[in-house]
Amino acid sequence: MGGVYITGLGAVTCLGSGVDRLWHGMTTGHSAPVPAEDPHAHVAQRLLYAVPPHAFAPSSAVGTAGAATRYAIESVRQAVADAGLGDAERRAAAVVAGTGMGQAGAQEHWRLSGYPDGDGDGPQWTSTFTLGAAVSAWLGADGPNTTVSNACAAGACAISLAADMVRAGEVPVAIALGAEAYSRVALACFDRLGALDPLSCRPFTSDRQGTVFGEGAAAVVLESAEYAEARSAPRVYSRVLGAGWTCDAYHPTAPEPDGAQIARAMSEALAEAGASVGDVGVIVPHGTGTHLNDLIESNVLAEVFGEHAAGIPLYSVKALLGHTGGAAGAIAAVAAVLILHKGVVPANVALGEQDPECGVWLPSRTAPCARDLALVNAYAFGGNNISLVLRRP
């Protein structure tokens, strides 16, 4: 199977705007969460890997849209420019957006300060989940426009759905993105559930006590090999070769203890890619810093990869950028694409002692990405699991 080409990348994270900033941050390994600047958030833990103010100049088309929409459009702007898409491609593109909370942050603001007037008719109902539509409006696109809200798997689901559209021949080009911004309700609920770490996002460490949210967005341009060749796309970063979608069907918040559905997602993704575990050069885990997720994911990786596990490096994105919710799967995919493209797995962010029960290899020094495949995992709160297999072209 040829797979669907990734020909453009965009990213906005706590490191700032642009894929270069992201790679630079991955190679230098420094970031820090800050207290969320929301005086109305009465919570015990309030750390956030926030996108810095003025990280980029928002498009004037964005108007009163909230932060999540601005991040989404900026990441797509970068990806579309990177891919050198012309007007015809922009107009025909499908857009698939992954987000868990959409414009919830903006709505929380409006709830206190008043809702914007809808064209003089008074405030109108608007869905929380409008950022995907805002992207198509900004592009002037008429292809299908879909928003998927599978929580922490949404960004990866968006990529998989968009790739399926291209494979099915529905559209020549599809743009997939994930975007998430600060939400007081999301923060408060995780706080209530005791799922937040008081210090930082420290996946796979002995002392981990939970996750820390982050903001951001990432976008990829997807097209068929034929189309990319026909329009002489400037470059091909990677191919989306396979995906596995499964569902725990177990419990609202706790992952299935034996990880059977997580294992199935990985196996199905590899099978769809026509690959075996020995072909994988890097794994970008879901790794959130919550006790159970990191433990179960480690165990399942050991089980699925067997004797190969010790030799396959992991790069833990959330240790650098926090848990960016619906954006996480897309940001993880972009990070995996960069690792494959550069041929190098950056040193993992230096954290505390690794939990001996999490027997995964998280190199503390730069390691080669010795094989052509990357595996990206994204597991949603509520039991949605997805694994993606990407391949160097």
């Binding site: 419990h251 609202p252 918040t253 706790a254």
Partner: protein, 88 residues
């Protein structure tokens, strides 16, 4: 010493717990095991804690929860806390 029954009515506690657990009052016997018999998971345990703290105006520590495995144990712990608080 004041009897714990006057400090904290058992039947009221039983009703409160049954309401939170969303089970019949009869199911919340004095010695029914909250986890094994009444299906209380970590999320439900948190909910019970929040409701008890609000209803009885006490503070429960996470470290105290594992010992609260039956209604009877819960009653003992709460009565103790209420009594401690009334001694200022």
């Amino acid at each position: 010493m004041e009897s714990t029954a006057t400090v904290l009515d058992m039947e009221k506690l039983r009703a409160v717990v049954a309401e939170v657990l969303d089970v019949e009052v009869d199911a919340v016997t004095d010695d029914a095991h909250l986890v094994d018999d009444l299906g209380v998971d970590s999320l439900m345990a948190l909910e019970v804690t929040v409701v008890l703290e609000r209803t009885y105006q006490v503070k429960l520590d996470e470290s105290e929860l594992p010992q609260v495995i039956t209604l009877r144990k819960m009653h003992e712990l709460l009565a103790q806390k209420i009594q401690q608080q009334s001694v200022v």
